[in-house]
């Protein structure tokens, strides 16, 4: 245990937690938009997987990580629009249709990987940016100010999301549509337009999350996300549909994960326990969710399709 309390290991654990939180944070922020407007998209993990493969493959072919990230975003937009079509226009049962999107993403990303790549080849990762001045601060610099641009962007998107939801007309419409779509509709707010927008934002961020994950690891394999998309959905509940809460949840998950990895590396957790240890983050997150989430109320119209005049 004493190995753990060294500067290098502690810094690595905290920095690792922040890094691991990023894909979850992005995906969960996106899902927050959808849910605040009343749409539950269970397909997040599928979109993340296709975003991850697309990002990976683009970097493999072009060698440019930013093209990879953009490719992940592009596929996220397409799948977000498709999800909107399914849940808003076709009014499919949201508890089921998202599973279809997930299975599609799971199967398709693996199929494409087998066909186009076959054996895993490592790719270039995101470059680390040390923030001048700040990254030299002892301890803190290494933990917080020596990350890739994607990490900074992901955390920057938290205040941006808060601003959009709380201070803009679009955000006000989102909140109204998620709570009482009839009222919004009666004032001329287009419920379906708002929901298309939010579900597409969700898809976009899920695609970005997938690409960020693959390019951060520098690799792709079958089911790379390991159900992180589902954890992200849980985090939205955990965070009580608020960006700050969602961020707290993502960090909690990231840190527990990072800690478990560190303990395994240091041999504090025996190798034979590694399977159980691997489940710890999910279990802890879900426990926290059960305790926290009960105190908050979900948007009233969550999972309910809207038709005028019923």
């Amino acid at each position: 245990m004493s190995d753990f309390f060294t500067e290098a290991v502690l810094i690595a654990t905290v920095a690792g937690g922040i890094r691991l939180a990023v894909p979850l944070l992005l995906a969960a922020l996106g899902e927050t938009f959808g849910q605040r407007s009343g749409v539950l998209n269970l397909g997040v993990d599928g979109i993340m997987l296709l975003g991850a493969f697309t990002g990976y493959y683009t970097v493999l072919k072009t060698g440019n990580v930013w093209y990879g990230l953009l490719a992940g975003i592009a596929i996220g937009i397409v799948l977000g629009l498709a999800s909107s079509l399914i849940s808003v226009t076709l009014q499919a049962e949201q508890g089921i249709s998202g599973i279809g999107v997930y299975l599609f993403g799971l199967g398709m990303s693996d199929l494409l990987f087998q066909r186009l790549v076959g054996t895993p080849v490592p790719i270039t990762k995101f470059p680390k940016i040390d923030i001048p001045g700040l990254s030299d601060i002892p301890w803190l610099g290494g933990m917080f100010f020596s990350h890739s641009v994607v990490v900074y962007l992901a955390f920057l998107s938290v205040p941006v999301a808060m601003f959009i939801i709380n201070k803009t007309n679009f955000g006000m419409n989102i909140r109204a549509v998620g709570e009482n779509p009839e009222a919004a509709d009666s004032l001329g707010v287009s419920v379906s337009r708002v929901r298309y927008a939010t579900v597409t934002i969700g898809g976009t961020l899920a695609g970005a999350a997938g690409a960020a994950l693959a390019i951060d690891l520098g690799i792709f394999q079958q089911n790379l996300t390991n159900a992180q998309g589902f954890i992200a959905i849980a985090l939205v509940y955990f965070g009580a549909w608020r960006p700050l809460g969602v961020m707290a949840g993502a960090l909690l998950y990231g840190f527990v994960n990072s800690l478990v990895l560190q303990f395994k590396t240091l041999g504090i957790i025996p190798q034979s326990w590694s399977d159980i240890a691997a489940m710890a983050p999910a279990i802890i997150t879900i426990l926290a969710l059960v305790i926290v989430a009960r105190r908050f109320r979900a948007p009233s119209a969550l999972t309910k399709p809207f038709t005028r005049g019923t």
């Binding site: 201070k167 007309n169 419409n173 109204a176 009222a183 919004a184 009666s186 001329g188």
Partner: protein, 509 residues
């Protein structure tokens, strides 16, 4: 009155699967007037107004605004035509503030950002202009119903509505709030706006309207100016025959107190005190009406008497038997009959048939048991007698109760409850949501039961019902009886007492 009406609806027909909701309806409105749409539940009033507001598209017919033909395809186009609608159920987002609710769907002066400060300012202005004071920063779920109503009206005024539809706006208001609302509405017509008012409360219709159009089963069945109309004339237009609004009450010698409640204290569902030190006696041969805005402990009072809820302190006795905190069967054995306010929730089992529902309280009586099994022949005979006697309109005894109309379910429950000879009858909201014909019948039965020496407690939000039935009126407010008065009291005084003012203060005005 201007020459060209601000609104003309001609030959409007609207069909839903299996229902002709509006059948060739004509309706018009002039600037500066209130034109009321009157009719029973299901007559098609809301449908006609939703067609006007663009929520439904008419199957046939045409609309003109200020003489120009228009098609209104959505609420957005209705708003563009300066039409506003206050819906029967509040159309407010509970989790948003008043200002946000008003600003929804409007163009913001700050582009993509909300301009709630400017909106709030204008809300305060409109509020002081029309007597609609409200805090723009309050979150809607914290508001009382009367305040929510104000927000709805401000929403329409803010959008410069010239034609305002008010779909049963008074349904949830206290008499004081209704008076305030009417003042606001009068001011709006004085400013040249046209109002369409929907209600089935006849005295309100008479007080507010200039003209009245009556709908029944989707068709216009009557039209009158308010001058010369009476409650009785309006009621018969609604029902299609003469109706008695207040039952004839024969003189009855009142007897001993059959229901005695002293010092009752009850804790509500949320752990708060809902009845606090309540004393009440109801004598044989009298109807005691409990007036009050719902939510002031009336439901809990009825439930506590019926043994469905525990008393914390105090005592209840029926015909001399102490039934405080007794089980429902014991209370019934002491001679209580109970018509609860939720017809479908507490009063009947929707999936059970008419015959089964009639049996619910009697299923252990020897008459219907044959060696421990239900004797179906005896049950059918008994049920048929009750159905005939109480004029319950049902296709058969085997029809599930939930497919009957509200009025018929209520008659069925009354038939069941009165089939014994109760010492005490509690009827909670006995005619809420029931059509006038059935209400007339239910009132007649209650008065008949009074002549049978039953002590009757009627709990109602409907002051017409309270005045029409009661021998004495107890006004309930926040779990207490504000005073017990006779029927010579005025509506205004009762209204004040319902708002928590004592009798003496109310009489002093």
């Amino acid at each position: 009155m201007a020459d060209v009406p601000m609104l003309e609806m001609k030959g409007i027909t609207k069909r839903f699967p299996g229902v002709l909701a509006n059948d060739n309806v004509d309706f018009d409105l002039y600037a500066g007037e209130v034109h009321t749409l009157l009719g029973e539940n299901g007559a098609g009033k809301s449908t006609l107004m939703k067609v006007l507001y663009g929520l439904y598209q008419a199957d046939e017919g045409e609309m003109r605004l200020n003489g120009e033909p228009v098609t209104i395809t959505s609420p957005t186009s209705a708003i563009e035509h300066n039409i506003g609608m206050i819906h029967q159920h509040f159309m407010l987002v509970d989790t948003l503030t008043v200002a946000e609710n008003v600003a929804l769907g409007l163009h913001s002066s700050r582009g993509a950002l909300t301009d709630l400060d400017a909106v709030s300012e204008k809300i305060v202005d409109l509020g002081s202009q029309y007597g609609l004071e409200i805090d723009p920063a309050a979150t809607v779920w914290q508001l009382a119903v009367g305040q929510k109503q104000r927000v709805e009206i401000i929403k329409a005024l803010y959008r410069e509505a010239q034609l305002l539809i008010l779909d049963e706006p008074t349904a949830v208001l206290t008499p004081q709030e209704v008076d305030q609302l009417f003042e606001t509405l009068n001011q709006m017509t004085a400013d040249g706006r046209g109002l369409i008012f929907i209600s089935h409360k006849l005295h309100e219709v008479l007080a507010l309207s200039d003209r009245i159009t009556v709908l029944r089963q989707g068709r216009v069945t009557g039209y009158t100016t308010t001058e010369g109309a009476t409650r009785a004339s309006l009621a018969s237009m609604m029902v299609g025959r003469d109706v008695k609004l207040a039952p004839d009450k024969p003189e009855v010698e009142t007897g001993s107190a059959a229901l005695e409640i002293t010092g009752l204290r009850v804790i509500g569902d949320r752990g708060n005190v809902v009845i606090d030190g309540l004393d009440l006696d109801v004598r044989r041969g009298e109807i005691l009406g409990i007036a009050g805005v719902s939510g002031n402990g009336q439901r809990e009072l009825a439930e506590t008497i019926a043994g469905l809820r525990d008393a914390e302190a105090g005592s209840i006795s029926i015909a001399g038997t102490d039934v405080t905190n007794g089980r429902p069967v014991d209370v019934r054995a002491a001679g209580l009959a109970y018509v609860p306010e939720g017809r479908m929730k507490d009063g009947s089992i929707g999936l059970f048939t008419v015959a089964e529902n009639l049996l619910l309280i009697d299923h252990n009586s020897k008459e219907f048991l044959d060696a421990g099994l239900l004797n179906f022949d005896a049950i059918r005979t008994h049920s048929q007698t009750l159905v005939d006697e109480f004029a319950v309109k049902t296709p058969s005894l085997d029809t599930p109760v939930r497919s009957l109309s509200g009025g018929n379910i209520q008659k069925l429950i009354l038939a069941r409850e009165l089939s014994g000879t109760p010492n005490v009858l509690i009827a909670s909201q006995p005619t809420r949501g029931v059509d006038i014909g059935a209400a007339e019948y239910i009132h007649k039965r209650l008065v008949a039961q009074r002549s049978e020496d039953t002590a009757i407690l009627v709990i109602s939000e409907d002051l017409d019902e309270i005045f029409g039935l009661s021998d004495r009126i107890a006004v309930m407010y926040e779990g207490r009886i504000m005073g017990i008065v006779d029927t010579s009291i005025t509506r205004e005084e009762i209204g004040l007492m319902m708002a928590g003012v004592t009798r003496e203060e109310a009489a002093a005005g």
